[in-house]
């Protein structure tokens, strides 16, 4: 288990390899389908994005409402494939990391390698456990999107697996081979 600080330093990104189990600590931003769509509409109009994604890590999540006294509700990853249409553009804007679940399209894997970025998989469905590793939550933008709004999270020892590394090695394309019978 490797301890990794966020945001990701470029040499750290380079040092990550497909299949590495990591624990992330530091700042993440949440965004899923609707927030991606709106951010890229902003960018297309030449307007500034509500967050500067350069050098940052996005977590694809739409949490449940927090119970009284909690900073966040349950907060596991959503299916990353739904963000594939937006991801190459986000990488062009300087995004360095993403956290979600499930595979990415060949175009996204290629873009990850080209921009020397990384895609982490969190364990889907383990949302109560993952929420425990989230220490702070701050609403940043698109409040009207509710669960899909952009939030700034501070996480501590947030467990993930390197699914696509900066050389384009993809666990969802390769992981099964060793176990197929």
């Amino acid at each position: 288990m490797r301890a990794i600080d966020l945001p990701l330093a470029p040499d750290v990104v380079e040092s990550l390899s497909m299949g590495d189990m990591c624990e992330l600590s530091g700042v993440l931003y949440t965004a899923r389908d609707a927030a991606h769509k709106r951010m890229l509409e902003d960018a297309a109009r030449g307007e500034p994005l509500p967050i500067d994604v350069a050098g940052q890590v996005l977590y694809y999540v739409g949490p449940t409402p927090p119970k009284p006294g909690a900073v966040i509700g349950s907060a596991g990853p959503t299916t990353s494939g739904r963000m594939d249409a937006y991801t190459p553009r986000m990488l062009e804007l300087g995004l360095t990391g993403m956290i979600g679940k499930g595979g990415r399209s060949p175009a996204v894997v290629e873009a990850i390698a080209r921009h020397r970025a990384v895609y982490f998989a969190a364990i889907g469905g383990t949302a109560a456990l993952l929420a425990k590793r989230i220490r702070e939550v701050e609403l940043i933008a698109y409040e009207d999107l509710g669960t899909e709004a952009i939030r700034r999270l501070v996480v501590e020892r947030f467990p993930v697996v390197v699914a696509v590394d900066s050389r384009g090695k993809d666990i969802f394309a390769e992981g099964f081979k060793e176990f197929a019978k």
Binding site: A75, G81, I123, G125, T126, A127, T147, F176, F179, A180
Partner: protein, 280 residues
């Protein structure tokens, strides 16, 4: 004629929606626990550990097991000697969902319309299926169906000549191509025969069967076993990252069909297996 008050339906649906989201089916968690012994991938094993740990934590702290608290599916078996008083059955069910999702701090994950896509905020409306049965009781089945798994569902009209082997191959290819998206280890509900919509309904209904119990028809039970084995040979593994545990059970429901048809629908369920039932 027996009379049931609509408010009682609302109260029960409210309770089932909250409790099932906090406490996933313990039989599913047991199956995941058992699978650890046969899992040879260290990454896979880590995933299975995290799943069982999450189940215990969600139960103990009474929080949603998964942040996707699903679209609400209700099967209502209405005895033909029952009368609902004090409102429409459909309204009573939706009011239960509304209260449960609000009071249980569950996520509203439903949009009002597939094109306008405005979140209804209270997870209504539920998807409701009615069946009229004998007797003077009302049986309600509730499920919270997450979309990662639901999106990996599939319906196809096979040819009768495709036969049993064609059925198995279609399912195996489909599970393989779905990879990690449906959050494996998965449960497969399969509707075989009938018509396109009958197969889909049967596939969903199959998920409500007590986990891992075989179909009473030995021919179908054998098919279930063969599908399970074939799917677990794909190597997809926990969360699609490679391993031995891809699927933990297969439930097949069959129905008569046209001489020229072999409809099949696969409804995929994730390890967030949330369902409950109650008899009124």
């Amino acid at each position: 004629m027996r009379t049931i008050d609509a408010s009682e339906v609302t109260a029960r649906i409210r309770e089932m929606s909250i409790e099932s989201n906090y406490h996933v089916d313990p039989a599913y968690v047991r199956k995941v626990e058992e699978a650890k012994a046969g899992e040879t991938s260290s990454l896979g094993l880590m995933v299975l550990d995290q799943i069982t740990e999450n189940a215990a934590l969600a139960s103990a702290e009474r929080v949603p097991y998964c942040q996707d608290t699903g679209v609400s599916i209700v099967f209502a078996e209405v005895g033909q000697d029952v009368r609902i008083e004090g409102g429409l059955l459909e309204d009573a069910i939706n009011e239960g969902i509304r209260q449960g999702y609000r009071d249980g701090y569950l996520r509203g994950s439903v949009v009002n319309d597939p094109l306008r896509r405005v979140n209804t905020k209270d997870n209504t409306p539920a998807v409701i299926h009615y069946r009229v049965v004998e007797g003077n009781r009302l049986k309600l089945y509730f499920a919270a169906k997450g979309t990662g798994a639901e999106n990996m569902s599939m319906a196809r009209m096979l040819k009768p000549s495709d036969g049993r082997e064609g059925v198995i191959q279609t399912i195996v290819n489909h599970v393989f191509n779905s990879g990690g998206n449906p959050c494996p280890p998965i449960l497969l509900g399969i509707g075989l025969g009938g018509s396109i919509e009958k197969a889909a309904l049967q596939a969903k209904w199959a998920l409500f069967r007590e986990l891992g119990t075989p179909n009473p028809d030995p021919l179908v039970a054998e098919l279930e076993g063969d599908i399970l084995e074939a799917v677990n040979r794909t190597g997809v593994g926990p969360m699609g990252m490679g391993g031995d545990t891809t699927c933990i059970a297969v439930h097949v429901e069959t129905y008569a069909c046209h001489i020229g048809a072999l409809p099949i629908c696969v409804n995929v369920e994730c390890h967030a297996h949330r369902h409950a039932e109650v008899v009124l």
